[in-house]
Amino acid sequence: MSATSSVRPDPSPAPAAGPSPVPSVFNPTVARLTYRALLGRRRALILFALPALLIVISVAVRALAGADDSTANGVLGTFALATMVPLIGVIAGTGAIGPEIDDGSVVYLLAKPLRRSSVIFTKLVVAIGVTAAFSAVPVLIAGFILNGNSQQIAVAYAVAAAVASVAYSALFLFFGTVSRHAVVFGLVYALVWETLFGNLVPGARTLSVQQWALAIGQKIGAEGAITSEVGLPLAVVLLVAVTGLATWYAGRKLRSLTVAGEE
């Protein structure tokens, strides 16, 4: 579009309505609507079920096998970080925006004098909060149950889960803005890429949120307790880059979101 695009703060001919919009990047109203929608859906049951399963497994393992660092590593590494965290990330990340775009109710957020980037940022914060609450916290508890935080394993995995929550949320929120099948994409990424490819193809591990998070866990845990395929500096750079790019692009996408009619 070329012609008459004057977006100056000109002496507006239209009547002024209310004060100018809050220029902040975080909007509490958007946040409230997002988390109520997230936790109100049936999908949210998985948010409760997965962490509960982790705790149950941990209690059972501890009872049957006693406190053991390598068992703790196994449960937290394979089940918690490789499967549970990405799944929760998919539900919270795509769920923070996908359904609204799908059913069209996002119109009520977008038909407002709000920066679209602040809508995305707010939704990201909520998605991160929910993902971290339902993954990092249970991981910490499970770690203490499994081996009483010996070798800092519980804390290391909990921090890794929190860090992974940030990247997954950004990534899956972005999926939510670009596709109606965001959940499927998210699941394919989480289960096929992270779990399957990550274990079969060595190169794929470099491009894995899980490995980047593990790199941070490795730093926190005792020497040799946790290992990652990726060095810490690279992991941090990739985490920041993926989170930043996904968020930026999601905001861009939302800015030109098309709400096609039924026609």
Binding site: P13, A14, A17, G18, P19, T29, Y108, A111, K112, G261
Partner: protein, 303 residues
């Protein structure tokens, strides 16, 4: 006083042209956007509301481009056609949230709910609302910031007559206050009752524009086509063509019927049975061959 200017706007989806080079100006008062289903009304409204980029041309609000310009929502209120609207909230919570998103508070929400007379059900969840109640809460959410432009996509769909009247009253009031109110509909009577100005869109093209009397006349004055079978087609044809209400008659030998084109609709409908009786002819079939809304509209395109 706010004006929406649509200037040579086209929109296509892949190979399908939904809106074809339309130019129109929507000013203060109530304007009805009339057209059959699939004519491109929603596409036009979506472009006016900034939710669809025109493939060509410009949509401006008092000279400011609408697409990708969040600041225009200070002046526009939108009532979408789709039903979804945060059903887990109560009506009040929903309208308050909309007010907050405009940087306004609970007072604005209370006023908007009062305007649509929804206070009585404001503490019920939206999921329990009827279609008409939903429509009114949607209206409240669109009115919360006192916008100078109101865009409504098929607002009367699925409403019962009483709800329809209430909403019409409300929209009339909004128009009388000097707001620019635009609503779409595929029902002529609906538009006629409410809109002082009508824009007709057919198959993506701007078919007609004006006050409803002009549009109504165009619609009733158009030639009506009938397919008639009788016991003596030729005698009937000879008798009918003598009257000025009949513009042309074709004897369709294959169908064994007459194809009649009438220009004066009321006169012709009185003439046909009288002529048949006077000549002792029995009418076997009388069927209008172009009464569908689409054909009425496509006549308007040609007019």
């Amino acid at each position: 006083m706010t004006t929406i200017q649509i200037d040579h706007v086209s929109r296509w989806f892949g190979n399908v042209v939904a809106v074809n080079d339309i130019t129109m100006t929507i000013g203060p008062g109530v304007t009805g956007l009339l057209g059959p289903n699939g004519a491109g009304k929603s596409t036009l409204i979506n472009m006016m509301g900034g939710f669809l980029a025109p493939s060509g041309g410009t949509v401006t609000l008092d000279g400011r481009t609408v697409w990708r310009n969040e600041s225009i929502y200070r002046h526009i209120g939108i009532v979408p056609e789709r039903e979804a609207m945060y059903d887990f909230l109560t009506g009040r919570e929903f309208v308050v949230a909309n007010a907050e998103l405009h940087g306004l508070g609970k007072d604005a929400a209370r006023r908007a709910l009062a305007t649509v007379e929804m206070e009585y059900a404001q503490d019920r969840r939206i999921s329990t609302y009827s279609k008409g109640m939903r429509q009114r809460v949607k209206m409240a959410s669109a009115l919360v910031h006192d916008p100078s432009v109101l865009l409504l996509d098929e607002p009367f769909n699925g409403m019962d007559p009483r709800q329809r009247m209430q909403l019409m009253d409300l929209l009339r009031r909004m128009g009388a206050e000097g707001r620019t109110v635009l609503f779409s509909s595929h029902i002529l009577e609906e538009v006629e009752q409410l809109a002082s100005h009508i824009e007709v869109v057919v198959a993506g093209r701007h078919a007609a524009s004006g006050d409803f009397r002009k549009i109504r006349r165009l619609m009733t004055d158009r030639p009506h086509r009938y397919l008639v079978r009788s016991t003596d087609d030729r005698a009937l044809a000879a008798a009918l063509i003598a009257d000025p209400s009949t513009a042309g008659i074709e004897v369709d030998l294959q169908e064994g019927a007459l194809r009649i084109q009438a220009v004066d609709f009321p006169r012709f409908t009185a003439l046909l049975p009288r002529v048949a009786r006077d000549h002792g002819i029995r009418l076997l079939t009388v069927s209008p061959s172009d009464e569908s809304l689409e054909s009425v509209f496509s006549y308007l395109v040609a007019a």
